[in-house]
């Protein structure tokens, strides 16, 4: 063969080989774009970008196009006009979960996977909680773990919030023992007298009472924040304001107010910056957000202010009769619209998120790159993991909320090198010992537009308005009277009928849990 022919052949091969490879390259085609609508206006991750989301895209072939809700009317508008995005992620605000669990609107997950991913099996212990009247489930909510999962994950700590104090001022008072809510109250009184220029306590706006689950005091009293609470003695449900110790909680907050230990305007702050100002300027003795010393000291350092905030790390309300009634069955979930543009890829994406690998990747990052698994079953993260800027850059951690369990979430917070880890372990163990798992109560939720839902909405609105009177009552007697008035109003609104319905629904929910 002449040299000319050899060269021509080589040149021809140079063109042919890439063409031959093209079909393989085409197989690694561009990821499919699916609309992902996040019905949470506060959602911080606006785009599917970063090392972790790209890794998930590589695994699933799906790149979600993220839209975060502008307000809570947007999804109802899309729903009413029949223009749902491919995938919706929402909680039950406006009964959206109840409305979306509709075969004409959304795919039942087992139908979706039966058709497009037949080899995938859903965890029935999880799926059974969300089955609707037609026997199918349209979502699996995040943030739920079964009792056995919790028991098998000792490193999944239950966070127990406690007040944050200024160490220097606390030591000036003689470092008094604070083991109970009464001790804390007395220390605030002493602080008020000793430091008249300081506000004794400022409560973070997102953590104040009035139905806030995160309210440290609600938790310390073992109280529920909404819905129905369990009377363990009679194994019946009642609307949450009837829960035992609820009046004690109201009287405690009222006493803080009446004794000038919290500011009246604390109840009127619109966002948490207004409460943070007191902490950053060291104008308060105690800040209540639930163990926020690290955050406060870090921010004060950024502002050039020397601070010595420390967390009490004491479960103030944990007496001999204290109980936590754990009703959690998750709070937000994914729904797949019936008019989904690509059910096959959606099934791939969904099933990946609900594997252990998918949950951990979305929450913790890429195994081997961002974390490795300790032999005791918790992740060991790279040092950058706790840097919010780094998390933003790689696309962590909120995508883990799409499917992650409570255990996955809590393990992400476990740091054995934390200087307060022993305190946190102690508090978590105390909390677990005092926890009564009653997920069946969490399953009791009225359907959208039902009579029970109407009563519940009216009751919730009434409580929101009436609770202010309890907190701002001018005497303990007035507080007690306001509580009685609130209960009387609840009866007028039909709370007894609601409780009757709830107890029926509870029996059904219990049978589901026991199956």
């Amino acid at each position: 063969m002449s040299k000319k022919r050899i060269v021509s052949l080589l040149i021809a091969l140079m063109f042919i080989v890439p063409l031959v490879q093209l079909p393989a390259a085409a197989a690694e085609a561009e990821p499919v774009e699916l609309e992902l609508f996040i019905n949470h206006t506060w959602w911080p991750l606006k785009t599917w970008a970063g090392e972790v989301p790209e890794y998930i895209t590589k695994q699933t072939g799906v790149r979600p196009v993220v839209t975060v809700a502008a307000d809570m009317q947007q999804l109802p508008l899309m729903l009413a006009s029949g223009d749902l995005p491919d995938i919706i992620y929402c909680d039950n605000t406006g009964n959206m979960q109840s409305r979306l669990a509709d075969p004409s609107l959304c795919w039942a997950w087992e139908d979706l996977t039966a058709q497009y991913k037949p080899d995938f099996q859903w965890d029935e212990e999880r799926a059974k909680l969300y089955r609707q009247e037609d026997g199918k489930f349209y979502t699996i909510l995040n943030n739920y773990s079964t009792k056995s999962e919790l028991e098998n994950s000792p490193a999944a700590l239950i966070g127990v919030g406690s007040p944050t104090l200024q160490r220097g001022l606390y030591e000036e008072l003689g470092s008094p023992q604070i083991n109970t809510l009464e001790d804390y109250f007395n220390v605030l009184l002493a602080a008020k007298e000793a430091f008249p220029d300081k506000v004794p306590a400022v409560i973070n706006t997102n953590w104040i009472g009035m139905g806030q689950t995160s309210s440290m005091f609600l938790t310390q009293y073992g109280l529920d924040y909404n819905g129905f609470s369990l009377d363990e003695a009679t194994d019946t449900l009642q609307y949450y304001i009837y829960q035992q110790n609820r009046l004690d909680y109201y009287k405690y907050i009222n006493a803080l107010y009446r004794n000038g230990l919290i500011l009246p305007e604390n109840f009127a702050f619109n966002n948490e910056d207004e409460s943070y100002q007191y902490a950053y300027n060291l104008e308060c003795f105690s800040y209540i957000k639930g163990s926020s010393a690290t955050e406060l000291n870090s921010k004060c350092a950024d502002l050039g202010i020397e601070s010595d905030w420390f967390d009490l790390n004491v479960a103030l309300g944990y007496g001999s009769t204290f109980k936590i009634y754990e009703r959690n069955v998750g709070w937000s979930g994914l729904y797949i619209a019936k008019n989904n543009s690509n059910p096959q890829k959606t099934a791939d994406f969904l099933t990946y998120l609900f594997t252990e690998e998918g949950m951990r990747t979305a929450f913790w990052g890429i195994e081997g790159t961002h974390w490795t698994l300790h032999e005791d079953g918790y992740p060991v993260f790279i040092p950058e993991f706790n840097d919010p800027l780094w998390q933003d850059a790689v696309g962590l951690t909120e995508w883990g909320l799409l499917s992650g369990t409570w255990v996955t979430e809590r393990l992400a917070s476990y740091n054995p090198d934390d200087e307060f880890i022993l305190d946190k372990l102690r508090l978590s163990d105390q909390a677990k010992e005092n926890t009564v798992y009653c997920s069946a109560v969490g399953l009791v939720s009225p359907k959208a537009d039902s009579d029970e839902q109407i009563i519940l909405t009216k009751l919730n609105d009434m409580v929101k308005n009436e609770e202010v009177k309890l907190f701002l009552a001018t005497s303990e007697e007035e507080c007690e009277k306001a509580y009685s008035d609130m209960l009387a109003r609840a009866e007028q609104l039909g709370v007894k009928d609601l409780d009757a319905w709830a107890n029926e629904a509870y029996q059904t929910a219990k049978s589901i849990m026991e199956d």
Binding site: H40, W42, A70, S81, T93, T213, Y280, L303
Partner: protein
């Protein structure tokens, strides 16, 4: 009885004037202070602003907020979209409204009465948000730039004003144009519009401000991040700090917060308010005169 000099003022007049002035100053202060507060916060360092206690001037002067704003592709893109929709939407709105109004101002227009009835009904009654959304969807306007300018092209309120105004233009002026061989459209462009400058200025201002401030269309009818407007972005930062209804979600909202600093929000507000506040004084004379045009005779 003592005669009052026409020039000298009595004690009662002085007292009344003083009370008036004091009250007006207080009201002006109450009205203007929030804008002033936004301005000084926008020029204050973000971290320092969190500490509060800023009332009359920046405690830690900084241009960083504006720098961050103009360096942020997200904010700049929304500013460009807002400017584009304001310019395009205003031009289309004004021209469309004028053309329709001119046609309806002709009393010999066939089915004139029916057109007017349709307009008046449309002005007072609306199908609601959901039918409107479905209409936009069927017209394939959702998630496009056109959704900002096409649906609002005809401003019925101004159609009514324009009709009255155009009817007041001397018929002889228009007839003389016809006699010179001018077409209808040419007459409209070269005779009618030039004498309608006050009206055009008023409409430009109203429609322009409407486009500049509008955020609902950006929130509900658009999903692409590249089409978001400045007003939407400001609603977004406000919503980021709003507490969710669900208590558990509230916990995550608090923990996940990457809220834009308050001073950065203020810088965005200054940028959003600035152009309108600069343009308004120059068009105010037209605004006061133009809004009454045709209103009485309509």
């Amino acid at each position: 009885m003592r005669r009052r000099n026409a020039i000298s003022r009595s004690l009662e007049d002085r007292v009344l004037d003083t009370v008036n002035i004091v009250l007006l100053v207080i009201i002006a202060f109450i009205t203007m202070y929030p804008f002033y507060y936004i301005l000084i916060l926008s020029f204050n360092d973000g971290g320092d602003a969190i500490r509060g206690g800023i009332y009359f001037w920046p405690r830690s002067f900084s241009l960083e907020n504006f720098q961050q704003f103009f360096e942020s592709s997200k904010w700049m893109r929304s500013l460009i979209v807002t400017v584009a929709r304001t310019v395009a939407g205003t031009a289309i709105g004004v021209m469309f409204t004028c053309v329709v109004s001119y046609g309806l101002s002709k009393k010999d227009l066939v089915y004139h009465g029916i057109y007017m009835k349709i307009l008046i009904i449309a002005m007072y009654f609306s199908g609601g948000l959901i039918p409107y959304y479905i209409l936009l969807k069927s017209l394939r306007l959702l998630n496009t730039f056109a959704v900002y300018v096409i649906p609002g092209a005809l401003n019925i309120f101004f159609v009514m004003i324009c009709i009255s105004f155009f009817r007041d233009i001397p018929e002889e002026l228009i007839e003389s144009a016809y006699l010179d061989g001018s077409t209808e459209f040419n007459t409209f462009l070269k005779i009618v519009l030039p004498v309608s400058l006050p009206l055009l200025a008023t409409m430009t201002l109203f429609i322009g401000v409407g486009h500049w401030n509008s955020w609902i269309d950006s929130a509900y009818y658009v999903r692409s991040e590249n089409l978001r407007t400045l007003s939407y972005r400001m609603m977004e930062v406000i919503n980021q700090t709003m507490q969710p209804e669900d208590p558990t979600a509230r916990l995550y909202a608090a923990e996940s917060s990457r809220a834009t600093t308050q001073s950065m929000q203020m810088a965005a507000m200054v940028v959003a308010l600035g152009p309108i506040m600069c343009v308004y004084p120059f068009l105010q004379k037209y605004f006061a005169k133009g809004i009454m045009l045709g209103a009485v005779k309509g």
